[in-house]
């Protein structure tokens, strides 16, 4: 699924090119893809001599993909990040890299919140194993 084009909250960029999966009753799995592109907002300045995908944009990828996957619910919420339990960058993510964000969602620490555990992999050439570039755990909650 291609995420809808409407922008209903401020965001640094569209952090998912495609999203698949569904969140229901505060649980589910979401798989999103994002190709790093210098034409995306902010990336021309990070950095001028080398396009390096900011680690914080992975938080946006989790937030946006989980929100898209939860939109089918009768009262699909506007989700915001309420906490970053952990974020670990294992490999740099450069211009042209095709990233896959695989997120498992479960109940979060507060009522109505979600805890999203995401593994980010970089798709390699055919025959080569994909490389894990980051792992992150993010708490999200409806924000009105």
């Amino acid at each position: 699924m291609t995420p809808p084009a409407d922008r209903t909250y401020a965001r640094p960029l569209d952090a998912c090119d495609t999203v698949a999966g569904r969140i229901a009753n505060r649980a589910g799995q979401v798989v999103a893809e994002k190709t790093v592109a210098v034409t995306d907002p902010y990336l021309s300045g990070h950095f001028p001599t080398l396009t390096l995908y900011p680690a914080v944009f992975l938080l946006e990828g989790v937030r946006q993909s989980v929100e898209y996957a939860a939109r089918d619910e009768a009262q699909a919420p506007f989700l915001d990040i309420i906490g970053v339990v952990s974020l670990r960058v294992l490999q740099p993510m450069l211009e042209g890299d095709r990233l896959v964000l695989t997120t498992v969602v479960g109940p979060g620490p507060d009522e109505e919140s979600l805890r999203a555990r995401c593994t980010v992999t970089r798709v390699e050439l055919e025959g080569d194993p994909d490389v894990v570039t980051a792992r992150l755990t993010v708490d999200l909650a409806p924000a009105g």
Binding site: Y9, A10, P12, L52, V56, V84
Partner: protein, 177 residues
């Protein structure tokens, strides 16, 4: 040191529109820093939003708040290193030429742990990051801190580990050559 925006830019490797810090309020090398960032509706994150949205949808993205905090942390780390190098050898290199900042090693986030967000911030708000050094060893730094606005606590960061890597290393890491 870091008395104006040009000095701030001379230390950081990012450039607009990714410069998310505006003013160094105070700096104690190897200890702590206070940095302000003003939120403005002209930023790219506020472009092309749908009409008629409630106010809460105009909150400055929390991912960018964390990036802004990280840049304040980078100013503390790099400012501390620059202060030490200037003290050790003066403002010039061995041949008498002006000492240049180390642009060949990129500061990057290695890991973040224990962030909790508080009140949202909006265009017109000014946030202040207060970052402290927990440990600095060669090309790694461990920092922590808080971000506040006039409305209260905005962000708490338990631990941010920053690393510096040579550009060539960044390009080659984990890739088939």
């Amino acid at each position: 040191m870091l008395e104006d925006f040009a000095a701030l830019l001379a230390l950081l490797p990012v450039r607009p529109p990714m410069v998310l810090v505006d003013r160094v309020v105070s700096l104690r090398p190897n200890e702590c820093i206070e940095v302000d960032k003003a939120i403005t509706s002209a930023e790219p994150c506020f472009l092309h939003l749908a009409e008629g949205l409630p106010a809460r949808r105009w909150a400055f993205p929390r991912s960018l708040l964390l990036e802004s905090f990280g840049q304040a942390a980078a100013l503390l780390w790099l400012g501390s290193v620059a202060a030490e190098e200037a003290t050790a050898a003066g403002p010039t290199g061995a041949d008498g030429s002006p000492r240049e900042p180390d642009g060949a090693r990129l500061p990057m986030v290695g890991s973040i742990r224990g962030c909790r967000y508080g009140v949202p911030v909006y265009p017109g708000d000014v946030v202040r990051h207060r970052v402290v050094v927990d440990r600095m060893v060669e090309d790694n730094a461990v920092l922590s801190g808080v971000t506040t606005s006039a409305a209260g606590s905005v962000l708490e960061v338990e631990s941010l580990v920053a690393v510096r890597r040579q550009l060539a290393t960044v390009l080659a890491t984990g890739r088939r050559q």
